[in-house]
Symmetry: C2
Subunit: 227 residues, 2 copies
């Protein structure tokens, strides 16, 4: 029983690894080097994969930054600071990223006869990206069922599992902590320094989650704002 786990090296995907592990799946972590602003994330993904002693950690290399249009892949666009309540989709949105990631995961799951794809999307405490919503996941599942040889010829459908979809960041931290996920190996910061910045959207969401869970965040921050 195998599961492909989309592993970014962040908090959410690492908690997903822990959930898939607890459910007894052999873990097939899949990460992407898409020339994101920093490679710290990928280093974290490698450490998390090592922690779980996986047989193989597949890293897809792709020049996705050539598409442009995101603060996460284009150094000329500024990463927004500390405004997680605004209504629009922020500049850190990477066009079609989750669709691209899930598509690779589907092919990888098919080749390895994995039954599930775990993805740590979250529809509550998130940055407002369209491709994190439940409707998106449901529609992806439908197209997936028409895409593969496995589903078409052998009736073996591959399900997308989203264990964090309806959890708050507090609940995600609590779940990860309960399952012994190596949260100390993760990063969430968009800036990617040796220490997390503590002020970008992603750091703010993470810090809020740990604070509300009453758990101390084990990673290093260069600065934190009091709320």
């Amino acid at each position: 029983m195998k599961a492909v786990v989309l592993l970014s090296g962040g908090l959410d995907s690492t908690v997903c690894m822990a959930v898939a592990k607890e459910q007894g799946f052999e873990l097939l972590p899949l990460s992407f080097n898409y020339h994101q602003r920093h490679n710290r994330e990928l280093a974290c993904a490698r450490n998390v994969a090592d922690y779980y002693k996986v047989k193989r950690h597949l890293v897809i290399e792709t020049n996705m930054e050539a598409i442009g249009g995101s603060a996460l892949t284009d150094n000329s666009i500024t990463v927004p600071q500390g405004d997680i309540a605004r209504p629009d989709i922020p500049s850190t949105y990477v066009p079609a990223r989750n669709l691209i990631f899930l598509s690779y995961a589907l092919g990888y799951a098919e080749v390895n006869r994995a039954e599930k794809i775990f993805i740590g999307v979250n529809a509550l405490d998130y940055s407002g990206y369209p491709d994190c919503r439940p409707e998106f996941i449901n529609l992806f599942q439908q197209v997936a069922n028409y895409s593969t040889k496995a589903a078409t010829q052998e009736g073996q459908e591959i399900s997308v599992v989203t264990p964090l979809l309806h959890l708050t960041k507090r609940e995600i931290v609590q779940l990860g902590s309960r399952l012994g996920a190596p949260l100390e190996l993760t990063t969430s910061c968009y800036q990617g320094g040796d220490a997390a910045c503590g002020t970008c959207d992603s750091c703010l969401l993470r810090l809020k989650g740990f604070a509300e869970a009453g758990i101390s965040d084990p990673i290093l921050y260069s600065s934190t704002r009091s709320e």
Copy 2:
């Protein structure tokens, strides 16, 4: 008015370029170097893009072959020869390939504010791949409408256009010829030699199309079978 065109360098995608051009779109061709068995295809794509004097031809580099499972990316799997009537999905199927290609195209279209994505899938004279069927395209369109910032926030949906979906290979050859598509710059062969092999599935379909159209195929073959 812009259109992303998925351009493999084969007959079908080149006819798609011609259709998009005739409809007055500024062409944004998108190709993939996915470590396919041979790079001849990509060279053809570059020549076709040059022919149409496009501003930019984006080539996405990706180690998709690391996923495995296809004769087109894995040299240890043999390319099947001359059996286009068999019922199963052949070993040249690349898991989730069209889903991955369309996902990148969607992101590229979004960033460039293109209205359309042209893809040369065909549901008649094709190799039986699941991700060439109309249901697949319809479902992709639905997930696309939930994926992008453009559709979600600005109501600007990006449509997937499939001008060849219900054409026979004969009709595709005739259409390309009528529109002046540079068919002499294309390749269809799975083997990727300097001359097309004339015996793989893809060569057989192409040769049948030209023969039925009563048009001489302008590319070089190393051998051809009489039907």
